[in-house]
Symmetry: C2
Subunit: 289 residues, 2 copies
Amino acid sequence: MTESTTVDLFVEETHSSGFSMKYKIKTVLYSEQSKFQHVSVVDTVGHGKMLLNDGLVMVTERDEFVYHDMIAHVPLFTHPNPKNVLIIGGGDGGTAREVLRHKSVETCTMVEIDEKVVEASRLHIPQTSCELDNPRLNLLIEDGVHFLKNTNEKFDVILVDSTEPFGPATPLFNIDFYRDVFNSLTENGIVVSQGESCFYESESQNSLLKILHETFPVVSVYNYSNLTYPGGLWSFTFASKGLSPVKDFDEDRILKSDLKFQYYNKDIHRSAFCLPQFMQNSVKEYLKG
Amino acid sequence: MTESTTVDLFVEETHSSGFSMKYKIKTVLYSEQSKFQHVSVVDTVGHGKMLLNDGLVMVTERDEFVYHDMIAHVPLFTHPNPKNVLIIGGGDGGTAREVLRHKSVETCTMVEIDEKVVEASRLHIPQTSCELDNPRLNLLIEDGVHFLKNTNEKFDVILVDSTEPFGPATPLFNIDFYRDVFNSLTENGIVVSQGESCFYESESQNSLLKILHETFPVVSVYNYSNLTYPGGLWSFTFASKGLSPVKDFDEDRILKSDLKFQYYNKDIHRSAFCLPQFMQNSVKEYLKG
């Protein structure tokens, strides 16, 4: 008599601080080496489907709403009338999905370097990829750095929805890139970027803020709590040609928009800019405006 | 010729959602079975010394400041003149350390059920246990539930610095306990309790808030970001006989106190009560006052 046996499958994200996060999974749905990185989608026991680039968790169905609410709605409710939005990266589609909920947005251009990320998300994570065929979306598979260097278009809001500052995203943590971002923004333009964590990645966070400080008249940083990023407390940087994310935020626009959110609301918009003291101490020299 | 070899040691905290957090460690410093739980202290590679009860991370030297700032200073800067403070639990000493920094506090009574937690912290984590011999501290090794049922003392602030609602802390998540808390508070009294996480533990969070809603005229909940608790976003509940943690908060008292903090500040005090939308939806029926 034999019993059927099963094996326990896990994915594990290991961090330089001798720390790792481990997820029990049911099955591997996608696993391909692209030109840039290893792209995989797994179905987890507790977090729904999960996208990983080079073994780092990018998105899970359970908590992707946090990241995508916070990268999109903070700048789009700060800018009084965002019409043209550019997303650099964001291949899973979640950021585009949230941007396109804003009726003022006429076109959203999304420049993702890695077609495998888009393919994996289209095939297995409709929750984030569901708006990739929206007629207002212009999806380009292209290097975002190259695109910005060569475009004549101007954008009201640019969202840098990137991975961490190694691998294919390395050139996105560079002052030349942010000079091109500045030049591609309209007069009231705003750029929001994936801004790392002050707990575990404060050097990367500070080097990005330093670049913004040298390039933009207004620089700020705001926090959100992600379930599946190490340490939980992660940040977006905010830089603009003049608009302040708190002083120029008009909460009535949320009410008038009729949009409902899972993470974002008017109180979260303001409170996200209130920084714990250790983080204030770490970043204060880079903030301005 | 032989080479010396080493083994990699880890502690791993496994969560019901098929998720675990794993820490590389250098050595085990303390490992004893008490009457209530297994108590251990390990020296980690990336987080300093770490205290675990029954394998759950309680405190690490790297981020204990977050929890201890937020359990102590939010109520102690809301109450206009806290003189007598009671801590239930808190055996590592970090909460007492922060309470005793307030000059208004004449006596701090700390009732910890498990002497092994105190012993382990005294022996190996002076960073948290450093004020356990402070003359203003009255440390009792006793069941906090029993203590509150039998005491005639009144406290301005009670801090329930407990582990999760299983094991020795189970009776602390009970309405009878909170009736005794109410009766042991002065007229302006406040109770703040370890309030679980809305990401992973929303049932426990809601059952605690329900108890408070049935017992106190003012009930609220506030968030903090802990590096080493699952999901990062964790909460404290706030209940009082009348004081509001935002409306009655006088930020000038922080300035006058001359105290400096690593996590807490006036903006964090207010913004901690701004809840993400999914959490507002989850807890709103229990909040009042």
